[in-house]
Amino acid sequence: MSYTPYRLPVVSRVKSESLISMLKRGLRSDQRDLVSPRNITIEVGVIEKANGSALVKLGKTQVLVGIKIEPGKPFPDTPDEGVLQVNSELVPMASPVFEPGPPDENAIELARVIDRSLRDPKAIDLKSLVMRPGEKAWVLWVDVYVLDYDGNYFDASMLGVMAALMNTKLPEYEETESGELIVHRDKLTTPLKLNKRVVLVTTAKIGDYIVVDPNLDEELIADARLTLAFDEEGNIVGAQKSSIGGYTRSELSRAIEVSRKASQIYFKLLDQALQLGKQAG
């Protein structure tokens, strides 16, 4: 059962009013304009035991993504495809309002939005993960760990997922005569095949303003949020409105337009971050 959140931090009226009066002048509390995301750093390969991993910092929000690849079976309705499983954890260390326990509706929503945004545009070549159709395939586990929460875990998580997938490698394996698989987990050779890259862009509606990549204070005073998934051609490959308010028709159009522009910024930052990572490595 879903219920109105009861444990949200309180933003004082003074702070809320000053944030809104700044928006009127085109400014935000962290010196940004309304349409720019916060600073982003992406570090890849941070977990050696994972097949792929990335640590993303979007302002003060930090997300760690680990990809594990395990042998398994294809689903009966897709015998010629590997299996994609996305899970996310809003771990209690990340915020005073996150609680231990199984994923709550927010964590499940995050994982499902990421899952759909990867699956629907066929971002991952799942066919390349089949070993024997209908019988043996790789299961790609995408685990998203929100470590420090200062708003907008959607965009940070997806950047982390993309960066991690782009440095994911499949292990070598052999089949014995009896058909058993021997997986050499220490021999990671084949890079995972990706068809396209996807980013999530979250905007918040605060009064009459639409702001890109809201920080926590902005999320808390926002009427509603919209997360849109984009591919590099500018197609929308997923959408999720969240929070307890709504959008007028024209606000929704504005949010879509602002988000499309921001998606290009994210793709550029994703490129830059990965290139820097390569140089450092």
Binding site: N106, I108, D120, Q240, R260
Partner: protein, 244 residues
């Protein structure tokens, strides 16, 4: 129920009609009845073609979970659940991750219209059961929940209704059924309160261009205004019956 398990060769024939004979911008028959349960404070039964959804409302009353009390408003509790017999293959009654997400999305579609600040420290509970699923169950759930809330006499700023727009064979289609949802290119559920001009639920599962999304939203909003009129008729009808 339709028995089509495979992807149809085409979704739209030469005459521009869909598999079930509808035109792209045509809704399935919409039926709304309120006051269908005796114990609940309000209830509604909604069908969009073969999709059938029932909603019940209890409250404002003491919250079932004491910790969820809010000092300045009522808490809204929503459960979206599918009956085991509602689907092609039996669905386990245990809540799935999908149902947990949809409970949240349906709650957030209702929050903007319920005048919850009139009932501090209470709970308004909405229970939705999908009785038969043929596409568009979350949007039919929003419609049923809205009608049930009004039937319970909960003060609201306006009624809400929902409908899903899909894309099949590159054509935008209104109120998609299960086959169009499962094998089509996109499913975009939308809910709105037309009297407030507010879109309260918005999702996209699939791929669309921005232009398709914009046209799809307009298509959905037109249908939503029609469904909300149906809600109003059902609610007015129930009051007239009581008066007699």
């Amino acid at each position: 129920m339709s028995r089509v398990k495979q992807r149809p060769e085409r979704f739209i024939d030469e005459t521009g009609r869909r598999l079930d004979g509808r035109l792209p911008d045509e809704m399935r028959p919409v039926d709304i009845k309120v006051g269908v349960l005796s114990n609940a404070d309000g209830s509604a039964l909604v069908s969009y073609g073969k999709t059938k959804v029932i909603a019940a409302v209890y409250g404002p009353r003491e919250p079932p979970q004491r910790f969820a009390i809010l000092p300045d408003r009522a808490s809204l509790f929503v459960r979206y659940h599918m009956a085991p017999f509602s689907t092609e293959e039996r669905k386990s009654p245990a809540p799935t991750r999908r149902e947990i997400e949809l409970s949240k999305v349906v709650r957030e579609a209702l929050e903007p219209v319920v005048l919850s600040e009139l009932f501090p420290r209470t709970a308004i509970e909405v229970y939705v059961e999908v009785l038969q699923s043929d596409g568009g169950t979350r949007t039919a759930s929003v419609t049923a929940a809205s009608a049930a809330l009004a039937d319970a006499g909960i003060p609201m700023k306006g009624l809400v209704a929902g409908v899903a727009v899909g894309k099949v064979d590159g054509v935008l289609v209104l109120d998609i059924n299960e086959v169009e949802d499962n094998f089509g290119d996109a499913d975009m559920p939308v809910a709105a309160a037309p009297d407030l001009g507010l879109i309260t639920l918005f999702q996209l599962n699939g791929v669309m261009t921005i232009d398709e999304m914009q046209r799809g939203i307009d298509m959905a909003l037109k249908a939503i205004s029609y469904i909300v009129e149906k809600e109003k008729e059902a609610l007015k009808g129930s009051i007239e019956v009581e008066a007699e």
